[in-house]
Symmetry: C2
Subunit: 218 residues, 2 copies
């Protein structure tokens, strides 16, 4: 069974390899985890012996298939807990990361899947990051949060992340429902809100609302 430290290393390697592609350097991992390069070297040797990563001295590391799917599983747990904390315990967006950083290490497959069901199988976390399903598959990339819709492009609402009645009621008021056509007209920098078109009618929505609406590009 993986230690908490080992899990954090795997997650860091996943994050860095997703960002920069190819193999990940010792220094990059050290920086990501606020530790020293020498500690990373030690750990890489260990993870490599256990076949979680491919490691050639001085050449950087990459995840094995086994390592990759485990790292994805930790990310899944992290993001599901964040959904719980924000949607059900009323935490603010900026308060949940550190707690999820701990909760992601709780070991119980049943717990993860029951939590997933309880949350209604969300596809994105409160920060708009995609949540892999039980099989480790990320939601189809065609669905993105409204808040990340490219300028000028049009999209169709395909899902809603949050299931709070008050939120759904508010969407109703905004005339947003599954299937609505949407488009971002302008981003207001100072509060991250958006001037938008909903079914060709001009409207205005906050970032908090936009990130909870999933769009498929047209």
């Amino acid at each position: 069974m993986l230690s908490q430290a080992e899990e954090n290393y795997l997650k860091a390697i996943l994050k860095l390899s997703q960002k920069n592609g190819q193999s990940v350097s010792t220094n990059a991992i050290a920086e990501e985890l606020n530790t020293k390069a020498s500690s990373v070297s030690d750990m890489m040797k260990k993870l490599s012996e256990k076949s979680w990563i491919h490691y050639v001295k001085y050449q950087g590391v990459s995840l094995t298939e086994k390592g990759h799917s485990f790292a994805v599983h930790i990310v899944r747990k992290h993001r599901l807990w964040e959904v719980f904390l924000v949607n059900h315990l009323n935490f603010k967006l900026d308060e949940v990361h550190d707690i999820a950083e701990q909760l992601e290490h709780i070991k119980s497959l049943e717990l993860v899947n029951k939590l997933d069901a309880f949350l209604n199988f969300p596809s994105f976390d409160p920060h708009g990051d995609p949540i892999p399903n039980e099989e480790g598959e990320f939601p189809k990339s065609s669905a993105i949060p409204f808040s990340e819709l490219p300028m000028k492009s049009r999209g169709k609402v395909v899902a809603v992340v949050m299931d709070e009645p008050s939120f759904l009621k508010y969407l109703d008021k905004l005339n947003i429902s599954i299937g609505s056509q949407v488009e971002i007209i302008e981003v207001n920098e100072f509060d991250d809100s958006f001037d938008v078109k909903i079914n060709d009618k001009q409207s205005h929505i906050s970032f908090d609302v936009a990130k909870n609406i999933l769009i498929s590009l047209l």
Copy 2:
């Protein structure tokens, strides 16, 4: 900040001193935690230096005030998580302990209190064990689960642990509400169910129902 190991030791000491009163022996702790007496001795020295326990060599240990209230806090977390797992994630009674054993170590006062509120400030966990409040006070002992009402004695329903609509509806059908007079007539060993009187009318309830109804003795 306490390590997970230290927290488990404090909790074990609390549990043993609640059961047997007075000071707790090295061997008792070792057995409770499935470890060796020598490991316990080492840890006692450490906890004592940090003022979590009173420790005199060969004389056993007891919690300091600080140690006691911290241990109670861990118990609080453990039991609140158990309520969440059973009432909201549909875990069975026997499946939650090991998971709560991990969750109890998550560090965030805000999390505990928000969870408490989300669960509606329950007084007992799914096993019928009392849950201390934020101040570390256990629910007044006059309230006990129906399932622990002594034979022949009568009691009054003062609270309901579970807040599931389906459960409340079922209580309604059984004619049980706050203030109802209840009495246990007989315990059916093979399924732990009870023959009872509710407002002097004979009825039958399962253990699962009985443990979620809080009684104050008349």
